[in-house]
Subunit: 332 residues, 2 copies
């Protein structure tokens, strides 16, 4: 008989518990044990915090580990479950996708009990952890190769009530940017599964290839701000300083004009910073051909007045690869 996914401890037990979520073995590899922390202080919000969905985004696991250290002293009510690493094999490989089956964990929800490893992880999380939460923070990073500000992100949600609640939750992080991201419908996202069950789901994202002490402090402060807003811990929210400024803004993307693609191959030189407001025609970068110094660089200019929310790091890019992403102030 097939082993079922299970927890090695009872999440409903009052107080602090630590144990594992066991993802059963399959034909592709043995069982996995994901470390799980739970702090149950009775009535109140039921929060699930997950990190390490993608193995090359390690701010989340680090911030989750920090939370585990200070929550026991700080949490006053409700229950917080923390899973620092959802996908240990991907983290060990520093890889976005799971090495065993090549799948992206955030594209296979709700998963399959008899599927490959990534699908079995999603299945275990969907069955055993998601039902215990009314609010989920899935800690991501924008990933290497791009500059991206500390941000909390969500997607357009059909139900206006859930959209409003989700947006207020996202803004409670008080990150420099809150982004409503008009994603081309990707099936199998953790977000969509949770939202279809009426839950509030927010993805903090903090980008760039270098995870430094300063970036981690901003990330942790944002999560703490959100916990304060939920009433799970007491304290005053703090606006982190980013690019020498303390400010937040809520933006949305419009699918038709939100991405600038490289018109040719070459070395991309960024000429603006994230959160810069640009007008139509402003220079945002230069694409340098590699084959000749007589060919001029190609100026990459803003298609319309907008805010640059992500800019490609200096890199060699191929025709059609994205080099800049644009957003606009949210129309409510």
């Amino acid at each position: 008989m097939r082993e079922a996914p299970h927890l090695t401890f009872d999440l409903d037990k009052p107080g602090l518990s630590k144990g594992h979520l066991v993802v059963p073995k399959g034909t592709d590899c043995g069982a996995l044990s994901l470390p799980v922390f739970s702090l149950n202080k009775g009535e109140g919000p039921q929060l699930l915090i997950t990190g390490g969905c993608h193995g090359d985004e390690l701010e989340g696991p680090i911030v989750a580990r920090r939370l585990i250290e200070w929550l026991p002293e700080a949490q006053t009510c409700g229950r917080i479950i923390v899973v620092p690493v959802l996908n240990p094999p991907a983290v060990q490989a520093c890889s976005r996708n799971t090495p065993v089956d090549g799948l992206n964990l955030n594209r296979v929800f709700p998963g399959r009990a008899d599927g490959s490893l990534t699908e079995r992880i999603a299945d275990a999380v969907s069955r055993l952890l998601l039902p215990m939460a009314d609010t989920i923070f899935d800690l991501h990073s924008f990933g290497p190769g791009w500059d991206f500000p500390p941000a909390s992100t969500t997607h357009p949600i059909a139900d206006p009530n859930l959209m409003g609640k989700t947006l207020r939750m996202a803004e409670a992080f008080k990150f420099p940017m809150t982004l409503v991201w008009e994603h081309p419908g990707s099936p199998g996202m953790f977000d969509t599964l949770a939202q279809n069950q009426g839950k509030v789901f927010v993805c903090p994202e903090l980008g760039g290839g270098t995870v430094g002490a300063e970036a981690l402090a901003i990330y942790e402060a944002g999560v703490r701000n959100a916990l304060i807003a939920l009433g799970l811990v007491k304290g005053e929210a703090e606006y982190p300083t980013f690019l020498q400024a303390k400010s937040t803004q809520t933006l949305e993307t419009r699918r038709s004009t939100d991405e600038m693609k490289a018109p040719a191959r070459g070395i991309f030189e960024p000429r603006c910073s994230v959160l810069d407001e640009v007008r139509q025609g402003d220079l945002i970068g230069i694409l340098h051909p590699m084959d000749s110094l007589s060919a001029d660089g190609i100026d990459i200019r803003a298609p319309e007045t907008s805010i640059v929310y992500a800019i490609r790091s200096g890199a060699y890019v191929d025709v059609g690869e994205g080099v800049a992403l644009f957003a606009h102030p949210l129309i409510r």
Copy 2:
């Protein structure tokens, strides 16, 4: 008969020239044409600037392209030869080493005319470009996965006269850090070949995985400072602002205590910033085991009073991988 490496134009021609350095075909691939810029204003320093030795370090090629734009208006004497990309196949693959033969261009100098592609590139550069220069700036980056300050670097040189000249040249960049790097003797470095011929050779390095507009501005200002110091262009040197400070320091490494390695595998959390001065026992990072939340993180502490010149970005590391690098003020 084997084709010899050659230039498509005469470097001794006065004024501005653009053309190619042709690296002959071999058994592994066809001929390569590396774009070369030369501006010959007669008597004065003979400078060679190269970038793109490693294909995942693209600050150098971008800064080299910028130089080519403003040098024609700025250079007053001497000759500057610029090769933005020494290793185009590595840049196209975003890879440190050359994909065709897997070799590191900075370990095969002086190269071999009948060798594999990387060796043929080194051979062409050694024969045709190096003899034209008395000073070389080889534009590198520390590379992804680490935080590293804008720096100019050199290695200990046996000849005290050349060491003094090289150190003065390195300090003329006025980067936040000048580093004399006690490298374990790696054969085949471009540096060593040039220094053995009595030439001044400096590597600017600017690290981290994200090449943003601000980092590029610091890099370009440093190169301009060095050109001013050489007397090739006129102007006032500028101290770039880095971590909210305008300061420079000259450091050296001591091989026995310059690196902290991970004592176990886990997720590394940096707890200090580059250029932080630390005392023996100060916390510089935490290594979080992934398998259990009951096992405490392992504190990584400074072995002695020193300056952190590079810190591993948040990442999964294996036992024995470096997580922090230390240096000390240079004793002259």
